[in-house]
């Protein structure tokens, strides 16, 4: 095994081009487990820990550009206002020790259906910035997950950053597990209200071969909110519509039975999380709408 230690991004890209099978290593919270358990013996490990720009984030127009190695702890401490769903999701990741090392870039590279960041990225709207010596491209998050632990990256590409749309309305993330820390999601759900576009977006984790959006549920709720003038009044959608939204979210799942839960349970739990996150987000939207009205 060879330990490649690029000190710049261009060196990292050159190394990946020369050794497309090299396994990128950043926080190590996925890769080191596989090494420790003899599940992985790559010819090359590509340590990205010395590529400084991967550890920084900045605002870029309507997006926040998060370097691939920025740890979850930073998202929680510095991006709670701009990326609420992702910050909430980051806070449910494992433990402080893991959040100090693990990153959204790593979550995307692993592309596990249970990765905590994915539902929040889907709901908020995001692009993955992938780069190789051939050039840089942006992959819409909806096109990124291609199968169980598979993603749209080419063998010579590395994740440079993830660009997440800054929130224009309330966002929520909820996850089902047996305790508050150190839990792989049984299922997870994220909801983002986008009042600027008068639409909603969802993300579901651990309930299909890949993280997925509940497209039919989004369309249904978007239509209901328009029809009832909810965006203008701040009033919540009717309870029957919330129930239907939850049901459509459950129908978007393609879950399996496994040690963490049954398929039936996952569908049920996703419906519960969908209803709850709709209630939470709409309650804060209503409060904001009323306080703006009061101020005017």
């Amino acid at each position: 095994m060879e330990f490649l230690r690029p000190t710049s991004w261009s060196e990292a890209l050159a190394a990946k081009a020369a050794h497309p099978e090299a396994v990128p290593l950043a926080g190590g919270t996925d890769v080191m487990v596989q090494l420790n358990f003899d599940h992985l013996r790559p010819a090359h490990l590509l340590d990205l820990g010395r590529v400084a720009e991967l550890g920084t984030h900045e605002r870029d127009g309507a997006q926040v550009r998060i370097g691939a190695s920025v740890p979850y702890t930073t998202l929680i401490e510095e991006l709670r206002e701009e990326l609420p769903a992702l910050a909430l999701a980051a806070h449910t990741v494992a433990s402080p020790q893991i959040r100090n090392r693990g990153s959204v870039g790593g979550n995307l590279g692993t592309a596990s259906p249970a990765g905590d960041a994915h539902p929040a990225l889907l709901a908020a709207g995001a692009e993955v910035e992938a780069e190789s010596v051939r050039g840089r491209r942006r992959i819409p998050i909806d096109d990124f997950y291609t199968g169980v632990k598979r993603n749209a990256l080419a063998p010579d590409e590395l994740i440079r950053a993830v660009r997440v749309d800054r929130a224009t309305g309330p966002q929520q993330f909820a996850k089902v597990g047996t305790r508050n820390a150190m839990v792989i999601a049984v299922c997870a759900f994220s909801l983002a209200l986008h009042p600027d576009r008068r639409s909603v977006r969802t993300g579901i984790g651990s309930a299909a071969p890949t993280p997925v959006r509940a497209g039919a549920a989004e369309d249904f709720l978007t239509a209901v909110l328009d029809e009832h003038r909810c965006w203008e009044t701040g009033r919540p959608p009717p309870p029957s519509a919330a129930a239907r939204f939850a049901q459509l979210c459950a129908e978007a799942c393609r879950p399996i039975d496994d040690v963490r839960g049954t398929a039936d349970y996952r569908r049920h739990a996703v419906a519960v999380l969908a209803r709850r996150t709709l209630h939470w987000t709409w309650t804060s939207y209503g409060e904001r709408a009323r306080s703006t009205e009061g101020a005017a």
Binding site: M1, L25, G28, N36, F37, D47, S95, Q97, I98, M182
Partner: protein, 182 residues
Amino acid sequence: MRVNLVVNGRRQEADDVWEGESLLFLLRERLGLPGAKNACEQGECGSCTVRLDGVPVCACLVAAGQAEGREVLTVEGLAARHAGTPGAPTGAEEAARWRARPADSAAPLAPVQQAFLDAGAVQCGFCTPGLLVAADELLEREPSPSDADIREALSGNLCRCTGYEKIMDAVRLAAARQSEAG
């Protein structure tokens, strides 16, 4: 490969490090520092918690090569760090000569270590080094932690003996003593 790093304030060099090796293995098997414990090897238990450039991490999930040029603090270095003296044993030979001191020995323990002893927060002791490193970092960052802060900070450290109540007591005690000492 060769790895150079600073452990508990002292420069260390290890040769013939395997590229897929963890920082935990390097510390325990090559540098003779068995304080960080090897249990789950997957970041679940926190018994290998050390600080890497000040940040609490699971040493089992850091590749040894990633520690090149960095500073590591292990439980062996806690007391010396608080006393402001250069580190506790950091070489294999030194570590072999090392003996546990009685609690009343002249060289003081770190405040969290003393508090763990006084509160009876240690049973089998396997999780203790990781808890001490995590708790010490919490008190450095947050001198008057709430119970929720303590639970959060220690949520990545499993103890299968104590039920955690004595550990909570110990961290509260260390925080109280620290604020008294001003």
